[in-house]
Symmetry: C2
Subunit: 283 residues, 2 copies
């Protein structure tokens, strides 16, 4: 995929990191950064994440062979559809949103069938961070990380292949799933941890905050993420998130019952199971 | 407190780190490591955490001016009482257990009143890690960390002062609380995060574990801690832990209701409150 023009809509942590990676690897002829505020684009230029900045999406994507929409999930449908309406007929458009079913269905509703099948497929790089913005972007953010690519029944195989090749060129590990399956999985592996971290942080009485240590700090770390972005994600993946939350509440209920009943062997067994699962991931 | 003999009962992460710190700072005439297995003591000797190893607690503490009992919470009462029965009448004994009310009450029941008042006070350095053992010990583990010292109504002021001076010499920040207040606070700031991390890990369906990223990894990190040690801690702080858990379950219920009702401004407000609390701690 060398010598292509890549337009990135939204040059925050993910968009900026993709730009840095493309430029560092010499994978793109030109990286065009598209954003709503000149100040963000200037930052991205200064950090070397993009070659050129553009406030107007239509103009920015006009020459692009690949468009990556990396804006907050609530804006993805609109910006992907705008991009699809403005790019050449050979260009590929994908996104990096943390939810996929709402986004893909929204685009499917608005885009022309042929354009949709040939030019769009959803993506989700599992490489976020609670620190946002181009100042935290890193050229290696995606290296070794998983990117889920989510074709629907309508997507042409060649479209999916192109998106997968784009991510593979950044040394990401590519996984293919349906949008619905992605959302079920990510509700459990990403959206629920954010909800739990926030609940734990919010439920800690102020007068004891001076007594927190690494356990609390680790378990609540992602509660520092952007509340607006995460409310959008919860909203777009409501049903799957509630299902994942029910599984957690069941587990917590069992632990609570076991502690009340002083059934310590049950408690130790659950902690052992949790440790095995956690240890398998490494640090 | 230089030129004193310090005996450390249990040379794991905390005990080993205290030994390293004392030796590096030249604060002790001799650091005596006491343990049940020669292999752990040999490790502690190799890592430079102790000057001398002793399998027999009575012999190990005989010459000590200060005894630090750093064994799993379920063994602390027994080992503190053994130490109090074997040390000289001027020696100070303290522990590093993660719970305080059960431990202090257990010791109060068994030790002679005068010995108790003059020679024992409980301590809890908030400096654990999910990695245990002397191989993870570090001379700076306690630097800048909080150590809670928990006198009871019976403890002499001079006893508490001595324990506080010991921890202050290792550059820890010392906080004085009653055992009961300590347990209420730590239930919220330490024991509950461990329970939640384990519940989240255990509730994640196996087939999706390959899709976890940093959010899940952070939020579940302490689920890798030792299940036996943590079952003991939950057991010793059952009532306060259940209270803290109830507060969390209330918070989760509110979030669940808000998500079901699509009350997104409520959700965003809770995430914002959680973020403010988390941001105040720093990374």
């Amino acid at each position: 995929m060398t010598n292509q023009n890549v337009a990135i809509v939204g040059v925050g942590l993910i968009g900026g990191s993709i730009g840095l990676a493309l430029r560092k690897r010499g994978l793109a002829a030109e990286v065009i950064g598209i954003g709503r505020r000149q100040s963000s684009l200037d930052k991205a230029l200064n950090y070397g994440a993009i070659d050129r900045a553009e406030l107007d999406l239509k103009k920015g994507v006009a020459s692009a062979d690949v468009v990556i929409v990396a804006s907050p999930v609530a804006s993805v449908v609109e910006q992907v559809c705008l991009a699809l309406a403005s790019v050449g007929s050979q260009a590929l458009v994908t996104d990096v949103g943390s939810t996929k079913a709402t986004i893909c269905a929204g685009i499917e509703k608005q885009a022309k069938i042929k354009t949709l099948a040939q030019q769009f497929v959803g993506s989700h790089p599992l490489a976020g961070d609670h620190r946002t913005g181009p100042e935290n972007a890193r050229a290696d953010l995606l290296v070794g990380k998983t990117v889920v690519v989510t074709p629907t029944g309508k997507t042409f195989e060649s479209t999916t292949d192109r998106a997968e090749a784009f991510w593979a060129a950044l040394d990401a590990r590519v996984v293919r799933m349906s949008p619905a399956e992605h959302d079920l999985a990510l509700a459990a592996t990403s959206h629920l941890p954010h909800l739990v971290a926030s609940a734990l942080s919010a439920a800690t009485p102020d007068q004891w905050l001076s007594l927190v240590a690494t356990g609390w700090a680790d378990t609540t770390r992602v509660a520092a993420a952007d509340p607006e972005l995460w409310t959008q994600i919860f909203s777009q993946n409501k049903t799957a998130l509630l299902e994942a939350l029910d599984r957690l509440v069941d587990q917590i209920d069992q632990l609570r019952t076991g502690i009340s009943a002083e059934n310590w062997s049950q408690i130790q067994n659950t902690l052992q199971k949790a440790k095995r699962t956690r240890d398998a991931l490494g640090n």
